[in-house]
């Protein structure tokens, strides 16, 4: 395992990714998602083709057309515009969940693997307990206990999300502990904290970063399921899972009302999955040639 990514490494990785059509597709989707989020966050409703909250009863249940590329809903609102304005909230939730969990997990896992012994035992037994639950169900339980709302939804997800990262970081840290450069650093008199910070963490990060990319898709899925169940953003605020829930009674009358936002969730999650999958292969020296 070489040290952190240098420039040559990055170019090689990018070249491998560019040759894989699925990776290119994943990248495009991820970039589009992040771009939309940034654009909507900066310019709000100005960039959507229609006012996302403008109801017009003459326009209800219009099918997909060049004017309304995802059709209109039960109040005649343009679905595409509503999907666009909901992007930032989903992005904010997903990136917070993955970012904070990865941070906490890497710190705890690196410490557990490096120190071993009782610290390791304690941290790993705690992760065992969390991993015994179906993640989604525990997140739902915490969200119900805390009450609805975006902040609570994030907290509920964080409770169940970090153990996987702790496990991964521990595994990496365990094998790094035995390497010669770590031994050399210790022999040179570096404190444990310094060894972890300078040598364990940087080397632990790249596999976890790959997993985190894939995990953004997961986080978007979980968020949409929780808000579908009524535990996320509350009514006036558009949110992807909620759009599906509100539209599903019209499934047989106008399928695009629930399914278009649903397919957008699928597409974005799939994009991050493809990107993560390809990134893993590209960074793995065994698949390089």
């Amino acid at each position: 395992m070489a040290a952190s990514l240098d420039r040559h490494e990055i170019f090689t990785t990018l070249r491998i990714l560019a040759k894989d059509p699925l990776a290119v597709m994943g990248t495009l989707i991820a970039v589009a998602f992040i771009g939309t989020t940034a654009a909507v966050a900066l310019f709000g409703n100005f960039i959507t083709p229609y006012d996302p909250n403008h109801a017009d009863l003459n326009l209800i249940f219009l099918p997909i057309s060049s004017k309304h590329i995802m059709g209109t809903d039960f109040l005649g609102r343009d679905i595409f515009s509503r999907v666009l304005v909901a992007a930032p909230i989903d992005a904010q939730i997903a990136f917070t969940i993955v970012g904070v969990s990865a941070f906490v997990g890497i710190l705890l896992g690196s410490a557990a693997g490096y120190f071993g012994g009782k610290i390791d035992e304690t941290i790993m037994r705690v992760t065992d307990m969390f991993l015994a639950f179906p993640t989604l169900v525990l997140a739902v339980a915490v969200a119900v206990a805390l009450g609805p709302g975006v902040g609570h939804l994030i907290e509920a997800n964080l409770v169940v999300w970090w153990p996987v990262y702790a496990r991964m970081a521990r595994a990496g840290s365990l094998s790094l502990r035995e390497t010669q450069f770590v031994e050399a650093a210790r022999a040179a008199g570096l404190s444990s904290v310094a060894v972890i910070r300078k040598h364990i963490l940087p080397n632990n990060i790249s596999p976890i970063l790959v997993y985190a990319t894939l995990d953004i898709g997961n986080a978007i899925l979980y968020t949409s399921v929780l808000s579908y169940l009524g535990l996320g953003a509350q009514p006036p605020q558009a949110e992807w899972g909620r759009l599906v829930f509100d539209g599903q009674v019209y499934l047989t009358r106008a399928w695009w009302v629930p399914l278009m936002p649903g397919l957008v969730i699928l597409l974005v999650a799939l994009g991050f999955c493809l990107l993560g999958d390809a990134l893993r292969d590209a960074l793995d020296p065994r698949y390089r040639r």
């Binding site: 699925l22 037994r125 705690v126 065992d128 307990m129 969390f130 015994a132 639950f133 179906p134 993640t135 989604l136 169900v137 525990l138 739902v140 339980a141 915490v142 119900v144 206990a145 805390l146 009450g147 898709g217 899925l221 949409s224 399921v225 579908y228 169940l229 009524g230 535990l231 899972g241 599906v244 829930f245 599903q248 499934l251 047989t252 399928w255 629930p258 399914l259 649903g262 397919l263 969730i265 699928l266 999650a269 799939l270 999955c273 493809l274 999958d277």
Partner: protein
């Protein structure tokens, strides 16, 4: 029967695992306790309902020992759970454990059916991907797996409903476990398919099977990815192993090498992560069961979420965790029987 060394090892292994199970369950109850009592802003309101009178709340404080230190409260919480007191619905007073036992068989039935879908489709998909690496079969398997993993459960369920109920009329559109026009067999085991067979009721059996197909496909599709990817990976490993090379060198045909030598060994690992599939499926069941009106624990949980009925949600969480832990134990034991090397660890 003389107990030989190998049996002794297995018995010790199982005893250790059961002891570990008790520990994990204790940990699980620490988490459910924390969520249901400590994380809640106002536990008495959550457990008694918003319109509860002061006397009800006082009774609850006494019952939960809320004025005592936290570890005493935890002791009473565990004792309560062991005695079957899992709380009750704040609005109706219905005990949670009673509801759970009522809904449990439907969930076990659906999870089993979905597991069959995963096995029946996931294994061939994984084998085809491994034997045709980087060819069309591999790409199809990869895209199917990733789509399943990336699909929100409600999208799969709604799409299936739209296509098969509404456009093709292939499956009954009533939802639920059986057509409302049919007299359901008497509840013996609670498993409708089993009960229909026991009663010799062919009409009910047909209807029950028709009703389970769609939700089982939906739940199975979401979890196909893990199985097919694992089968592919372990199949690639065993195809590259020495014994397969030896068999090939001996002149064994490709078909026999693939299915007799490589396939059997490649199956051990994917099957032993059974508890992982079960955990995913129980999570997905909350959405799938409520869309298909399938009266199982997921449906019950979804209803309870909409009512913000915390005792019921906590009860379902606890029973699901117990289910995962027990399936995990079963898988570990199965693994140890299949592969004696494991017990050394």
């Amino acid at each position: 029967m003389v107990v030989n060394e190998s049996h002794k090892g297995l018995i010790i292994f199982i005893a250790k695992r059961v002891a570990l199970l008790a520990l994990v369950l204790l940990g699980v109850s620490v988490i459910t306790f924390t969520v249901s009592r400590v994380a809640v802003p106002d536990p008495t309101r959550a457990w008694a309902g918003p319109r509860a009178s002061q006397s009800t709340i006082d009774a609850l404080i006494a019952k939960f020992h809320l004025h005592e230190p936290i570890y005493v409260q935890f002791y009473y919480y565990v004792v309560g759970i062991l005695h079957g007191d899992w709380g009750s619905d704040p609005s109706t007073g219905q005990p949670v454990l009673e509801s759970i036992l009522l809904y449990l068989p439907a969930t076990i039935e659906l999870t089993t059916a979905a597991l069959l879908v995963v096995i029946a489709v996931g294994i061939p998909l994984g084998v085809a991907a491994a034997t045709h690496r980087n060819k069309l079969q591999d790409h199809v398997s990869r895209v199917t797996a990733l789509t399943g993993v990336a699909s929100p459960p409600f999208v799969v369920a709604l799409l299936l409903q739209l296509v098969f109920f509404y456009y093709l009329h292939v499956f009954p559109d009533s939802g639920g476990r059986i057509s409302p026009l049919i007299q359901a067999p008497a509840r013996v085991t609670g498993f409708l398919i089993l009960d229909s067979i026991l009663a010799g009721n062919l009409v009910a059996l047909t209807s029950a099977l028709q009703h389970i197909i769609m939700p089982a496909i939906a739940l199975g599709f979401l979890n196909l990815g893990l199985m097919s990817r694992l089968v592919r990976a372990s199949m690639l490993d065993s195809l590259a192993s020495d014994y397969v090379r030896t068999a090939k060198a001996k002149g064994v045909t490709k078909l026999v090498v693939t299915y007799k030598h490589a396939f059997r060994n490649a199956l051990i690992q994917p099957v032993t992560v059974l508890s992982v599939y079960v955990a995913y499926m129980l999570g997905g069941s909350v959405v799938i069961e409520s869309i298909f009106d399938w009266p199982g624990l997921g449906y019950f949980a979804a209803q309870s979420i909409f009512n913000f009925d915390l005792p019921a949600v906590m009860g379902v969480t606890l029973i699901f965790a117990i289910g995962v832990v027990v399936v995990n134990l079963a898988a570990d034991i199965l693994y140890a029987i299949l592969d004696p090397r494991i017990r050394l660890g």
